[in-house]
């Protein structure tokens, strides 16, 4: 996988599970014998990684939800990092 494209469709990686945890007031990513506590923006991106939406569509959805513009570079960078760490797979 070279440069990440806005047309890629990320999905939560095999063996990982994304879950909202009230006790931690955060989304967490669960995996064998471990847990990553996500900050707000990471949680917002990952909960949109359903294997159907493209990175561009996820960006548009976030920009709409938070009434803002210009998130594409941030979203691409995060998804690329998440892919590298196997948090998401790409199709």
């Amino acid at each position: 996988m070279n440069e990440l494209s806005g047309a890629a469709r990320p999905a939560i990686g095999r063996g990982f599970r994304l879950q909202w945890e009230p006790a931690q007031n955060a989304f967490v990513l669960l995996y064998p014998e471990g847990m990553i506590k996500l900050n707000a923006s990471a949680g917002e991106i990952l909960k949109r990684c359903d294997g159907a939406a493209t990175v561009d569509e996820i960006t548009a959805s976030l920009e709409q939800a938070f009434s803002t513009q210009g998130l594409q570079a941030d979203v691409l960078a995060f998804v690329a990092m998440a892919h590298e760490r196997h948090w998401v797979s790409l199709s």
Binding site: L18, Q19, A26
Partner: protein, 398 residues
Amino acid sequence: MSAAPASDAQVSPHGAARPGPPLWLLLELTYRCPLHCAFCYNPTDFARSGPELDTQEWIKVLREARALGAVQLGLSGGEPLARDDLESLVAEAHELGFYINLITSGVGLNEPRIRALKKAGLDHIQLSFQDSTRQMNDFLSSTRTFELKSKVAALIKEYDYPMVLNVVLHRLNIDHVEEILEMAQRMGADYVELANTQFYGWAWHNREQLMPSRAQVERAEEVTRRFRERTDLAMRIFFVVPDYFERRPKPCMNGLGSIFLTVTPDGTALPCHAARMLPGLDFPNVKSASVEHVWYESQAFNHFRGFDWMQEPCRSCPQKTRDFGGCRCQAYLLTGDAANADPVCDLSPHHHLVTEATARAEQALAPAVQASAPAADGRVVERPLIFRSPANSSRLFP
């Protein structure tokens, strides 16, 4: 999935005043085990343990812990597959939202059971191996299980589980690390944990025979490093360094009562799976106390929280917020006082107890299957491994 509030920022670690939730719940469902591993951390007096909790009692623990915020669940033992209600417990835990890890020797895991466990919502299986060879595996676990475990490994792959192989390393198998890693790769493991023996329970009893030499440890690390560099390798390898060879202690459990809660087969709640040995702690039982009481109120879980219990050199040490003084059980086993610094730390006045133990491993002869240990006068005497079994437990604690 519920929606995240937009204002939800990353929450900072909990303050000292109120501990966070017990994020990690380890249920030791039973002490029954078909293996008899000489390095098991289970208490050597397990034969004296009371009756196991029944299904409803375990379900009560699951519900109460989950309500407090527990999210990672380990199902262990003994061999958890020895419980015939394992599938029901997994189903309940899954319903509650736990991420469920089965920590197993694989003995008892056949196709109908793995199918039922998958259906019930089991997330992950960690399979233990004792070595890469049938002879050593079967010797170290005092059973004949190697072929069976290999079949179970294939079954785990077939049911599309990420496979974590766990191999406990020690003097008698650490020279086989390369073969162990090759075996793991052939089996299609996703992760391999090369976990050097931690000296508690049966392993403590057999410490002299299980302690590797420094040269052995360094060779194993070098082999692991070379293996990791292979470009064709998708498998990830964790090498857990044996802490006796370190100069700073491990941040054991991130401090007792910080994130970790163990419940033993009879319902005794512990802040670490080895903690039952610690004197002066009044361990509550989940049969008579709520998990909330156990975690937030009980003396046993509060005693080693924070830093007030510490003595010098920990008390004034800047490292204390990182390593929490190391392991309380190790401090107790080696020095007789659980509030001492973990003697693995070279700032501990008892550090010589650790270096003497590793020095004895240097002097011992080349490891053989008949483990030998040097006597006090330096002569090498035959001392057999004591395998973990109900009979040996009763013999040690009549």
